[in-house]
């Protein structure tokens, strides 16, 4: 307890000191509001977190206990969670901007919600499906029904999932904070009235182009994330992991490492055929029936029509869609194959590099205990850096180094992708390496596997499934990141924004510059199709092939 108070007070003191130093050393007008901006960002994420918890718990319980609700909700929410944040811009702009400053504040919260809420919902859903049958049966035999069933069986069972889901949401919130607070609408930046750290960082980088301050702010933000993580989530998760049916995920990695694992798990739970442990949940979630799929599609289409109609203030017809395809940036659609190829190329390069590094580090961490002791903490802190916030800082740094903005952006884009992808690869590999069953280790010892033969016959085959999962996840997240990484917003309408050709930047142009919802949705559809196609044709096949590599315990 005393250590807790010391770290609480100490952390606050460091935060206060950092604030003072940053404010004293720079003279931009926005920096005067640093305390307010810090507060409003934290407040915003906390509010959104609370809303997400309430929404996720109630809808999660509903979807898990009511057949009809699960029919409609689960596929629909799975669909919504795969839409990148940019896809929600038209809706937010269409509905909330009309409300003035309050509307803008609300927009930020809504955008944050669209990137935070899902993990809680799916965590709750998974936890309820994971309640062992014997517990359900014994509860029923004692006559627990309705509210009492929820209170005495469901709520205790979902608490750990709720906590880890909330933690995940919290981190997602910080991750997307910069995207949510820096809304651009028809080429102009719409600042949230109460500001925010994400806005401040973007402003520093894009408008003032002050690398020193940007780096300082990035460290400042990272410190806040890590501070809150150690202060609250670590303790909560430790407490929650006792007294439940089984560990949600057994991992020794501390802190944010866990977050990625559970994010991975959530993803896995939905997208993969996983043997044994999750198979029941899977069968429920993975195999949507045809009816469920049709319902989801109908919902989506009607949602799109609704958004379109609200934008144009009259009921949509084919005319609006045609009109959308006549407006800019329609002329760039002719280059679509080329743009897709360029984006794919960037993703492939980043993927290749992350793959090599992650496998190398993973094997090193597995084979050398001392090296592992160095790698894991670095990894833990690296996890705390909100990757999207790194973007402006990286670009500024590279630009001042190289002098050519276009090449700097190209490099930044690939680096961003690597930073994003490598965690997924690494976390998957490490979690497998740490969980190689004792018997396999003993077999390798007993029969004298050493050095290269150990790596070849034991380590590499056992991480192969993890590499496949990690690859699928990193491509998924890579697509999400590249939407932000191919496009550099400008702060002044007079300066055109910088972009490198690719399908991601085309999406940004349609959304930010032209506000062309039709093309935005069209491109989103293409991206979704590519992601699903790769998943189905490459990753799932690979995973099914590697299924026999799983060690049965």
């Amino acid at each position: 307890m005393r250590r807790y108070i010391i770290s609480l007070v100490g952390g606050l003191a460091i935060l206060y000191l950092m604030t003072l130093i940053i404010m004293a050393s720079t003279s931009y007008p926005e920096i005067r509001h640093l305390p307010l901006y810090t507060f409003s960002t934290i407040f915003r994420i906390v509010i959104t977190l609370l809303i997400s918890i309430l929404w996720g718990t109630s809808f999660g319980i509903l979807a898990a206990t009511n057949r009809l609700a699960s029919f409609i909700l689960t596929p629909l929410i799975d669909l919504l969670q795969s839409i990148p944040i940019l896809g929600y811009f038209p809706m937010v702009i269409g509905f909330l901007f009309a409300l003035g400053p309050v509307g803008i504040e609300l927009s930020v919260i809504v955008l944050l919600f669209t990137s935070m809420a899902w993990s809680i919902f799916f965590g709750v859903l998974g936890a309820i499906s994971g309640i062992p049958t014997n517990i359900i049966e014994s509860a029923r035999s004692f006559g627990l029904t309705g509210w009492r069933y929820i209170r005495h069986v469901i709520l205790p069972a979902i608490t750990p999932a709720l906590i880890s889901g909330a933690n995940l949401a919290w981190c997602d919130g910080w991750f997307f904070m910069i995207a949510a607070e820096y809304i651009q609408y028809q080429g102009e930046v719409v600042a949230p009235p109460s500001g925010g750290l994400g806005y401040l960082l973007a402003r520093t980088a894009y408008y003032y182009e002050d690398i020193k301050l940007a780096v300082t702010l990035l460290i400042f933000i990272t410190f806040i994330v890590v501070y809150f993580n150690t202060l609250t989530w670590h303790r909560l998760m430790e407490r929650a992991s006792t007294g439940t049916f089984k560990p949600i995920f057994r991992m020794d990695l501390s802190g944010v490492g866990k977050v990625l694992t559970s994010r991975t798990n959530r993803w896995l739970r939905l997208r993969l055929h996983q043997p044994k442990r999750f198979s029941i949940i899977f069968q429920r979630l993975r195999k949507y029936t045809r009816i469920e799929k049709i319902i989801a599609v109908i919902f989506t289409i009607s949602g799109i029509i609704f958004i379109l109609s609200s934008e144009s203030h009259h009921f949509p017809d084919l005319g609006i869609i045609l009109e959308g395809f006549r407006a800019p940036p329609v002329e760039e659609l002719t280059n679509l194959p080329m743009l897709i190829a360029l984006t794919m190329m960037r993703l492939s390069i980043a993927y290749g590099i992350s793959l090599v590094i992650a496998i190398g580090l993973g094997i090193l961490a597995a084979e050398h205990k001392k090296l592992a002791a160095v790698i894991y903490p670095i990894y833990d802190i690296g996890q705390g850096v909100p990757i999207l916030a790194l973007f402006p800082v990286l670009f500024l740094g590279l630009n001042s180094l190289l002098g050519t903005p276009r090449i700097a952006l190209e490099l930044t884009c690939i680096l961003m992708l690597i930073f994003d992808m490598i965690w997924y690869m690494f976390i998957n590999i490490v979690s497998v390496i740490k969980n190689i069953p004792v018997e396999i280790k003993e077999v390798s010892q007993l029969f004298g596997f050493r050095g290269l033969s150990r790596v070849r016959h034991i380590v590499i085959p056992s991480i192969l499934p993890a590499i496949a999962t990690g690859s699928m996840l990193s491509w998924g997240t890579g697509w999400n990141t590249i939407i932000f990484a191919e496009y550099m917003p400008s702060s002044e309408p007079s300066i055109p924004p910088l972009s490198i050709p690719g399908i991601g930047s085309l999406l940004d142009k349609a959304g930010y510059e032209y506000g062309n919802t039709v093309i935005l949705i069209f491109i989103l559809g293409i991206i979704a199709a590519i992601v699903l196609l790769m998943e189905g044709l490459v990753w799932r096949r690979l995973l099914r092939k590697l299924e026999k590599y799983h060690v049965e315990v």
Partner: protein
């Protein structure tokens, strides 16, 4: 003449800040053609003891001698069969048997020949190219046995080899193991098996070494002289007499540690050592 000498072995595991004593001054010896069973309640350290003999675990004090030489790391002369089979899921049955031979430097043709022969011996002809994933539990353990024997070891250690199989399969495999032990053509003639199934131990072993709950100590040894094949004597009074004798020893071991709470016992042991 004893081949394996276990001398005064003491072993602790560190847990958090404290240490837990798992084996307390354990000694026994095993001679040629012996079939020894280690029996004890779960957590008494019998599997740890087996791993120490295999050279997989280090000891705090004491030593294991194999033909007079201390065992400090695994040797091909002492092989092991695991409870959960320990097969590499990414290798076929044949490759699983082959790979220890490959590490020993046996050339490709020869090791394939040897492996096929041993797979045939355990009754897995025709399953050479099947992956463990597609084998039943009993078949997996057959691969495990073939892999251990292919090294032509002198000693075969078995860590509860049948406890994860259903009773019918276990019965067949017990017979298989006994046949291997009896086969004079095979160099493997010393079997040490860990079990918590008293009937199984009496059925298979020449000697049963009974251990106490943690910290594991040897409470006593029962020599079983029921004539073989014992399958014909499973209903004899003599068989049940031996079972009762072992069960009595286990009970005595339990009462030995009952007076003191387990925690204080551990504490006192640790402070002594």
């Amino acid at each position: 003449m004893s081949v394996i000498e276990v001398e005064n072995i003491t072993k602790t595991f560190s847990m958090g800040k404290g240490k837990i004593l798992v084996l307390d001054n354990v000694s026994f010896s095993v001679g040629k053609d012996d079939f020894v069973c280690l029996v004890g309640p779960s957590g008494c350290g019998k599997s740890t003891l087996l791993r120490i003999i295999a050279g997989l675990e280090k000891v705090d004090s004491g030593r294991v001698l194999f033909h007079g030489e201390p065992v400090t790391r695994p040797t091909p002369k002492i092989s092991m069969v695991f409870q959960l089979f320990g097969l590499l899921p990414w290798k076929t049955a044949l490759e699983n048997v082959e790979i220890p031979l490959e590490i020993l430097g046996v050339d490709k043709e020869k090791r394939t020949h040897i492996s096929k022969e041993y797979l045939k011996m355990v009754g897995l002809e025709g399953f050479e190219n099947t992956y463990p994933h597609d084998l039943s539990g009993g078949m997996k353990q057959r691969v495990g046995i073939a892999r251990a024997l292919a090294l032509k070891p002198e000693v075969l250690l078995m860590d509860e080899p049948f406890s994860s199989l259903d009773e019918l399969t276990a019965k067949t495999l017990r017979e298989l193991v006994l046949n291997i032990w009896r086969n004079p053509a095979l160099p493997t003639n010393i079997f040490i098996m860990v079990s918590h199934n008293v009937e199984e131990a009496v059925f298979m072993a020449d000697r049963i070494i009974v251990m106490s709950p943690r910290p594991g100590k040897i409470i006593g040894e029962v020599k079983i002289d029921i004539p073989r094949p014992r399958i014909e004597h499973l209903r004899d009074a003599e068989y049940f007499k031996f079972v009762d004798e072992v069960v009595d020893l286990l009970k005595r071991g339990k009462s030995l540690t009952k007076d003191e709470s387990p925690l204080s016992l551990i504490a006192s042991r640790v402070s002594k050592s």
